[in-house]
């Protein structure tokens, strides 16, 4: 999951190949998508997924 933010001052669009349609984004607005456009001065891309942390069990040996 990526957060795609439009940094321009007008409505911009990008192509989402997974949905097969254009996504229009408000100025200073954002959408959350799986297929983000390439990062450039207009689009700011942020990864939303947190890295998975393996659970460790600590055993106190006495």
């Amino acid at each position: 999951m990526f957060k795609v933010t439009n940094k321009a001052k007008d409505v911009r669009k990008f192509r989402d190949n997974q949905k097969g349609k254009d996504i229009y984004v408000n100025p200073k607005g954002f959408v959350i998508t799986n297929r983000p456009p390439e990062a450039n001065p207009v689009w700011k891309i942020e990864l939303l997924e947190k890295p998975k942390v393996k659970k460790t069990i600590e055993v106190n040996e006495q």
């Binding site: 001052k9 007008d10 409505v11 669009k13 254009d22 229009y24 984004v25 408000n26 100025p27 607005g29």
Partner: protein
């Protein structure tokens, strides 16, 4: 809504009196359950009515939490919440709206509109042309609340009848009524 019930017993009056006492306790509970069930029906019918009226779920959330029925846990009061913009959509006066660069949602809708003239205006304003050079878009109300209520109201009788029968059967222990 008056109901006439005929309760027959096999001659045991104490059994009949106990059944009536059980019914008296059971009916308010069933009334709340009936209202809760009808509330869900009302919510669903108003959402369907919104779709029928031509309201697309473009920016808002009328199809999710924008319309919802909530009933208090203890009382008999149930409330149907409709988002404020839904009420405006239902009963606004027809008026003109200009495409402006500050109206991002309207521009975003206009750029994807099926009407070519609307699409052209939205694209030109978005590209930086002044909004004063273009004619406005005329918007009208899309009444859906009353239509949804009209759809849901006749279903209330059936639900109450079903719940009353259930209460009766539970109070007399599942014997014939």
């Amino acid at each position: 809504m008056p109901y006439i019930m005929r309760i027959t017993s096999d001659g045991d009056f104490m059994k009949a009196i106990n059944a009536l006492k059980g019914l008296r306790n059971m009916l308010p509970k069933m009334e709340k359950e009936a209202m809760r069930e009808w509330g869900k029906v009302l919510e669903r019918d108003i959402k369907r009515s919104a779709v029928t009226a031509g309201i697309k779920d473009f920016t808002g959330n009328l199809q999710n939490r924008g319309i919802r029925y909530e009933q208090s846990k203890t009382g008999k009061i149930g409330k149907l919440f409709i988002a404020q913009y839904g009420v405006y959509l239902d009963a606004m006066a027809p008026h003109p709206v200009y495409f402006k660069q500050s109206r991002g949602n309207l521009l975003r809708w206009g750029m994807q509109a099926s009407n070519a003239s609307v699409r052209r205006k939205a694209n030109k304003v978005n590209d930086g042309e002044s909004w004063k050079g273009f004619s406005p878009l005329y918007v009208r109300p899309h009444p859906f609340i009353r239509a949804g209520f009209k759809r849901a109201r006749p279903k209330l009788n059936r639900i109450i009848r079903k719940k009353t029968t259930q209460a009766l059967m539970q109070s007399i222990g599942g014997t014939n009524v």
